[in-house]
Amino acid sequence: MEYVALTVGFIVIMAGLWAIMTRKNIIRIIIGFSIFDTGLHIVMVALAYVKGRTAPILDNTVALDDAVNLIVDPVPQALVLTAIVIGLGVTALMLIFAMKLHREKKTLDIRSFKDLKW
């Protein structure tokens, strides 16, 4: 059961990669990146999960002195938060690029942007 999240995570990563590598529309490619990132986040959280434990939030369900044994590993969850923020930044920047690319050639087909090659 604990591997379900992990497996799903990987499937999402693959789906994202598939979108990035095969979709021709730049917006779809960017969506692919978002999916890819989401997959990564799922994997991270899944890895931190320890069977039978609870979320690493110190409230009245978790006794402070026994917290270490009750909660799942908090570090990856913290990391995920950071990663989500970064992913947001990346996505925003990519969308800006998409906008500028569209402004240039009035198309969003990735194959039209091959002015630089060889």
Binding site: I13, L17, I20, M21, T22, K24, I26, I29, F33, F36, D37, L40, V43, M44, L47, V75, P76, L79, T82, A83, I86, G89, V90, L93, M94, F97, A98, K100, L101, E104, K105, I110, R111, F113, K114, D115, L116, K117, W118
Partner: protein, 1041 residues
Amino acid sequence: MISPIHIITIGLGGAFALGFVSKKAKALTTSLMLVAIALMGTISGSWLFELLSGGTETMVYTAGFKPPYSINLLMGLNEALLTTMINFVGLLGGIYLFGNLKKAGSHAVMVFLVFIMGLNVIVMTRDAFNLFVFMEVVSIATAGLILLTETGKSVQAGFKYMMATGIVAGIFLLGVIFAYYFSGSLNIDDLAAANITAIKGGAVAVMMILVALVLELKPFPANGWALDVYEASDPGVAALISAASATAFYYVLFKVISIGNADWYNIIAIAGMITFVGSNLFGVKQDKARRLLGYSSVGQLGLLMAILGLKPYLGDKLEFIAITILVSHYLAKAGLFWLAGIIEQENIKDWAILRRKPIFLVLFGTFVFALIGFPPFPSFYGKWELILALSSAGQYYAIAFILIGSFLEGIYLFRWLGYAIKLDYTKLPEIKIEWNKVIPVAIFGVLIYVIGAYTGTQMSGLDSLCYGPLLMIPFLYAIDSLKVPIKNTIAILGVATFAARVLPGLYETDMLRFIFTFIFLVGGILTLIAGYAYKGKREGFYPVALLMFVGLALIIRASNTLEFFYGWEIMTAGSYFLIIRGKKSMPHGLSYMLFSIAGAYALLAGFGLSFAETPSIEISSLSAITSNITIIFSLLAIGFMTKTASLGLHIWLPGAHAEAESDVSPMVSAILLKAGVFGLMILMIAMGHSPEATNIGYVLGWLGAITALVGNLAAAFQEDAKRLLAYSSISQLGYILFALAMMSHLGWMTAMVYSINHFLYKAILFLTIGAVVMRVGTHYMYKMGGLIKNMPMAFVAVMIGIIALSGVPPLSGFAGKWLFYNAVLDVQWYFQGAIVFFSGIIAFLYLFKLIYSVFLGQLKDNLRHVKDISIWFAIPIYTLILGIMIFSAKPEWVLQPLGDMVSQWYPNSALSWDGGLATGPYGYWNGTGVMITVGIMFMALLGWLLLVSRKAVKVKQFNIVYSAEAPQRPETTHVSYNMFAGYNKALGWLVAPKITEFWDTMTDWVHSVAHYGRQLYSGNGQVYVTYVVAYILAIYFTMIF
């Protein structure tokens, strides 16, 4: 000390604070940003100073916890150095981009600051996730900077960059999280200690981390996106990406590689070498300047990656090698990108614009030579230590890859430099000088010399005198705006002072070095005298001429292979610039340089292997080598033979010598070629006594003989007087190679006599013909004719020159022929000897053609009023003639000391002297006696003719026996063009340009491979992502199997 954490606080805080400055105060914003970077640089610089002077490194723990519960930063020597470098280039890069940043406003300025700060953190952090965060920060900042100058191309490049780095970052993150899962820590040192590669999943985690870091270094072929970025972004930004980002990311791999196991070193070494070779190969076809710099950058990173991967073989030299090459790349590539931004020319052919401001050309040349690894730049020492260390470890494939990659890089860099030096720039616009852009380039240009000199002082075995004489070069450059006579006098005085200091001592102690120093330096003085004939300023001539002579002098005084190689490269650089000065010399300069580089790499490999055997770099230790003699001897011999232009390696010579200026031809022919001879002699003295060397000597003997034949035959069919002399040089050097290869007393006597004679008569001939060409304005002999009447001085000089060259008694050339016969019979090389003799007679064909077509026959109408050669040419010419006469009249004055000298290595078996009478093992010869007999006889017969023809009257040009009508047109009466047509018909097939065709085919192959190969980079960002993914999979499968 200020805590390194403040680099971050200043960077981040500064970026936030800048938001509060008025949006309108753009100049203020940008200046404040620069102050912030300067502060960051001060912190890292002070740490560098502290650590260099013995301080201890420090670890900063954020949030008050120890890892794995917090992020920690290390400030060690490496980190201090690299952050200093990053902040320094950041500061200069910011100054360079001042105008752009100001225009773009405070957001761009913040991005810039964050970019530099991010790189600092990447270098210092010891935390894997923190690394991820700042890699992403830098990545976003880079994408932002790419948009700094927004063009359609830069937007495209930026998007491709984001796609590629997005995937890479994802893989890295995945790797980090798995590594954490298996080791329970995010700290790099903990990860390394945990040795998670032993766990099945852990190995994959490590794979993902390392492959992502490798991908950040733009490995071939998954690097199309990087090339686009280099090409399309603002050159100022590209400079930062190439210098600062690359430095930081290289260091990341440097510190993180410890988490992998030994296999990873191999993978990274191979990835690096493939990148180095592959991207330099594709660069060959590139003609867009910035993209080409991109190829070069990627290639250099590949080299650095390879060095890291070869760490197990490099031992304690690793850091020296990596830093010297990294620093060279950092300075040179930033400088080149900045230059590209200043001159704003996309096509490399338009870089001739640099000549509008010659200082830019000097900077450009400096960076190019630094990238290739010439002395006195740091990369020279880095490559030297790299090859030596690899040889010691037996990594021959790595040596081959690295040298091939460097050679390919040389192809395009020197072609580019050639364009800049030679192509027409008059149609190109003026360069816009913006001081904020020029100053960074200038600073880096100076720094690369300073650091090079400093690196030199760190090398054991390199005498500080090695760069003392080099100080003459900047001095001559500084006075380059003076007129020729002043500079020429200074140059002559410089060479003469040096000669006067070394020659007397050498005469007592070392005859061999005395003779070659004499040829190099006295020859240098004589050929420099001819320079007085030039008017105006002759810009750029004196620094490079002296560079060559200094190089030659350094070769002589080298006591170890490092010094020798140092001098060899200096000499190559100087002679390259001399050769390429000729009007049509661009392609010849390039082919000279390429053969020289290839030869130099053969030498380097040879010295490396010999070091591995002994292990010592002393030249004398070459004789202690007991195994691998064949390969070492061959490599070194091939290296030297590129300079002596032996058959197969000769195709650069005719053009290079023929198109050079009038006084440069003798310098590069009579003098420079002897450097190769000297090298061969040094080699044979040390290693010639082994049976393997004797076998190779046999091959070299045949090679020399065939070179002599083909060279002379080709010379006979030339129409260009200087080309004729150039082919003649090839052939003469073939004789010398033949004679040296005998490795016997008489053989070496012959070789020495030929070397001295060739110096004398080839200098005479090239100087005279050069002087004639200056007067008549053409190289083509059939356009001359009958010049004896206008130029008696030149005629006499050429006549003496050709008599000496042909070996006709009584002049000194015969000494060589006589020794040659005895030597050939002595070693029983009958057939080779017969070929050499045959080629010696063929020499008469071209010698006659030379003197007849130019001076005899029919004078052309347009040349009726030309004057005799310049007196400044006549002075050295007649001095040399005096030398020939003395040598001819008293050969024993030269031959006896030579005999004593050669006896040190090859005991004298049979040659004995009785006054002027020499008795060899087979024959005898009295030079003085023959001279007197011939002289008396000649005078007596002349007297007889004067008596019987006293009534002879002189007649006019066309008063000749001619059927029916007088030939009024000299053009139709002067027999010159295709003079030996019948001979050509019979033997011309021997000189069909097969070797040139061979090299042309090789060139075509390289170009074709580059042409088709680089179409890999289709321009489609998605395709590039596919390459990245494929690269990851490829490495993954390599790991599995």
